[in-house]
Amino acid sequence: MRKLRIFSVLILAVMILAACAPAGGSDAGDDAGSASAGEIKVGVLVPLSGQVSTFGVSTRDGILLAVNQWNEKGGINGMKIVPIVEDGQCTPDPAVNAANKVIDQDGVHYILGEVCSKAVIPVSEIASAKGVLMITPTGTADVITLNADGTAKPYVYRACFNDSFQGAVGAAFAFDNLGAKKAFLMTDQANDYVKGLSETFKATWLEKGGEVVGEASYTSKDTDFSAIIAQIKDANPDVVYLPDYYNIVNLVMKQAKEAGLNIPFVGGDGWDSSDLDLAAADGGYFTNHYSPDIQSPEVTKFLADYGAAYKDDTGNPKVPDALAALGYDAANMLFTAIQTAGVDDVDKVAEALDNIELVAVSGTITIDEFHNPVKDLTILAVKDGKVNFETVVKP
């Protein structure tokens, strides 16, 4: 018995330690409750653990860079911005809990996040219901900003283009620029993002007169893609459309390379990550929001600021990916709108956001009637261990 007691004390100690560990970055939670006059609280919901945590880290860094820049300039109309970072895990349940926490406990009026469409969708429901204005930097699913009847949700915006646009441009690029005629589609049926891109790709592809020689579905928990690769080899397409996140892309393309498959893969912005396996993804193309190789004063300034603020493992300045750029843009959209509105009032800020025209890192942003930004789309190519800028497609 005595042993057991000592043991349980030890376990308790470990649990308390564990509870203390992730305290970094959420000091703002101390003065929870009422928002004091001189500050604007902003909930930042990003995945910081789980399979796609690089998405969250990049997005958070982009957002916090914008927050720091605004605060250095004296805040928005004299009000200091207080970011409250929560881990939404790119999963509906934790994201909803995080959203409820920042709204009910911290009393935020504005949310930046979540990152993945499947987590953004439930968060957007909560935000509209509770009258909190949210901008998702990267949630591309069409339904995020739309009600069931096709009208825009009043307080939900995004800083990226949506799936319809991305899938259609991917198909057009593969058909026109790559000259492909036969396509093979790989879809995770449980992922709204992948499904959305894949459906619009297929529609555009068939419209252009292309042929779909095969379709395969898988789940995000799969690791063995040998069967699908055998099917691809059998169908012998000109292009494989794989609009999934980098973790799946790494696995599929690595196994395809090892099986000797030599067919170009095309994907979406989910490929964009510092953890994309460049050797495996060699020869692939993906549609994206931004490229650090674009020559524009905004990109140059952003690269310099981001590199000065964040270093990689070896101490060199980090190069921001699209998620960092979108996080930065989303934060700037929100802060600019608050500044234009002049007050901390959700309805006035939403109105300012509707009429915004912001020269941002990912292009000049205006907002359409469905709360989607209208801006350029970039196509990138993975070649020889590098991600190269291929071309820009105007909206």
Binding site: A21, T54, Q189, D224, A227, A230, Q255, G260, I263, D275
Partner: protein, 376 residues
């Protein structure tokens, strides 16, 4: 080895006594199911034999991995009648340890660093083997610790208590692995201790060259496939030897037969149980490393599905039976690969668990399981 079976077997005692009135419904359902399966496999085999062979190879690879995990389930069940649900997570830990060895500490490079004159091939083999051994040792230490901390205090408690504890341990390992200092964003791609090479069979065996698609109808396989098959067979042989020829094996069999009597005969039952956990964990660790190398991906919940499927394999083969674990695992591997190939990938888990239900309905003792022996 044939461990005696559990005491709670709901099956068909005395076989043909009196048939249940509606038994023919179930039987004809099973017959129709079997015909459908044979028809699907048959037509596809005739239509495209090389594609079929390709799926068969994927199935073998999966099956031999499952076999390594299933042994742990079956042995632990045979000895303590506990379904050790944390076993799949020990498998995951094996994969993680190898990742840390290779990606963080470059341990697979030590032979070249210590003996620069060594040939690259030998150094790679030595380095990879040492990575695998370290993973196995860590898994052994982990499993023995789990046994001592979580299961031993409950040895005399009802079996359901131990089962729930096993599930708790399993969750602990999964979510511990998901903590940010264990599972950092920079985990993918999994770095392999040795490169994977593939060959294809068509008019002889040729090496696959990167960027050149093998001709249509060629069947490809890789070195990791061969390693998994060989490792799994070696594991089987070692285990058979251990159980049949050594003192510890005799002690294990005695303990599994009757714990109290074994103790009276002077067998240290506690150390036998620890040893069983250790052996199972070592094989799971080996499986984990090879699995991670083969599919080049790790995450904290990696062990759940392979663990559950290996558990199904153990039940299918007859839980408690060592050859049964191998046979069950090979069947599970094929079922999964053929489902992925000829039905669809997301169906694979559904099919796997359907097999579990069917086994429990039709023959709860599994293929190699013997009907209950009455204990005196």
């Amino acid at each position: 080895m044939q461990f005696p079976l559990s005491s709670s077997k709901p099956g068909i005692p005395g076989a043909v006594k009196k048939r249940a009135p509606l038994a023919w419904v179930g039987q004809s359902f099973l017959i129709i199911l079997a015909i459908i399966v044979v028809a699907i496999l048959g037509t596809n085999l005739v239509k495209d034999p090389s594609l079929f062979a390709q799926y068969f190879i994927s199935g073998l690879q999966l099956g031999f991995v499952y076999a390594m995990i299933a042994l742990g389930y079956t042995m632990v069940y045979g000895i303590v009648k506990l379904i050790n649900f944390a076993h799949g997570d020990v498998f995951m830990v094996g994969a993680f340890v190898s990742y840390y060895c290779v990606a963080r500490f470059q341990l697979h490079m030590w032979p070249l660093n210590v003996f620069p004159s060594m040939s690259v091939g030998l150094a790679t083999i030595l380095g990879s083997v040492s990575v695998i051994l370290i993973s196995m040792i860590v898994c052994v230490v982990l499993a023995v610790t789990i046994e001592k901390v979580a299961y031993k205090p409950l040895r005399d408690a009802p079996r359901i208590a131990a089962l729930i504890t096993a599930i708790g341990v399993s969750f602990f390992l999964e979510y511990f692995g998901a903590l940010s200092f264990v599972y950092t964003p920079r985990f993918i791609p999994y770095e392999r201790p040795f490169p994977v090479t593939a060959w294809y069979i068509q008019d002889g065996i040729h090496k696959v060259v990167a960027g050149v698609t093998p001709p249509a109808g060629a069947i490809t396989f890789s070195n990791i496939f061969l390693i998994i098959v060989v490792a799994s067979i070696i594991v089987q042989i070692v285990l058979q030897y251990l159980v049949r020829r050594t003192k510890m094996g005799i002690a294990m069999r005695a303990t599994s037969f009757d714990k109290a009597a074994a103790r009276l005969m002077g067998i240290n039952v506690d150390s036998v149980i620890s040893f069983t956990f250790a052996i199972g964990a070592a094989f799971a660790g080996l499986g984990g490393v090879l699995y991670a190398i083969a599919y080049s991906s790790i995450w904290a919940q990696l062990g759940i599905l392979p663990g559950l499927k290996a558990f199904i394999a153990a039940v299918l083969g007859g839980i408690g039976s060592i050859p049964g674990a191998l046979v069950g695992a090979l069947i599970m591997g094929q079922a999964e690969a053929m489902t992925m190939g000829f039905i669809s990938t997301p169906m694979r888990d559904a099919v796997a668990f359907t097999i579990l239900i069917l086994v429990l309905l039709v023959r709860p003792t599994g293929i190699f399981g013997e009907p209950e022996q009455e204990k005196a």
